[in-house]
Subunit: 100 residues, 2 copies
């Protein structure tokens, strides 16, 4: 879970994560989610926060009104690992139920 | 509440808001809060989110593990207003009770 992904595995993972992209100049993946309003955006963040705490793996994220910009990387590994794929996958599931 | 603060009123307001600073190149105020851990940081964000929604005035903020960086400005006024001072004051009160 804490090894950096191979190029092949990363391509495969990103293909299954719509809207997620590589971050220029850094081994990380990112997506900006847009919701109906602040209520929906923060509701998404609250649900993700519980998952992140349970996984003991936390996003870098910012919120401006109804948008939430997320960057995921695994600090200990210096790049993207299966832990980031797991958190991104959970975010997709939660966003689908958050009026996103 | 939605008029930009005078220079005098802004100085007065910032003097009462420890750690808050002007943002270079923009009419806004900002502070980075540091908490004990992600639980405390997100607990702070959750409490602030409820206040922000009630005030109908929302922060620009980012969270990386136990830090929360906040920028406040009033979009409609193109700068800092009493609404920002009110939200910053609420954040100070909440942070004091969030293990910050």
């Amino acid at each position: 879970m804490t090894q950096r992904l191979s190029a092949e595995r990363r391509r495969e993972a990103l293909a299954a994560l719509p809207g997620w992209q590589e971050v220029a100049g850094r081994d990380a993946i990112a997506k900006t989610f847009t919701f109906a309003d602040f209520n929906a955006a923060f509701g998404f963040m609250a649900r993700v926060a519980l998952v992140a705490e349970k996984l003991d793996h936390h996003p870098e994220w910012s919120n401006v009104y109804r948008t939430v910009a997320v960057t995921l990387a695994t600090h200990d590994a210096g790049g993207v690992t299966e832990r980031d794929v797991a958190l991104a996958t959970a975010m997709e599931r939660i966003a689908a139920g958050s009026g996103g």
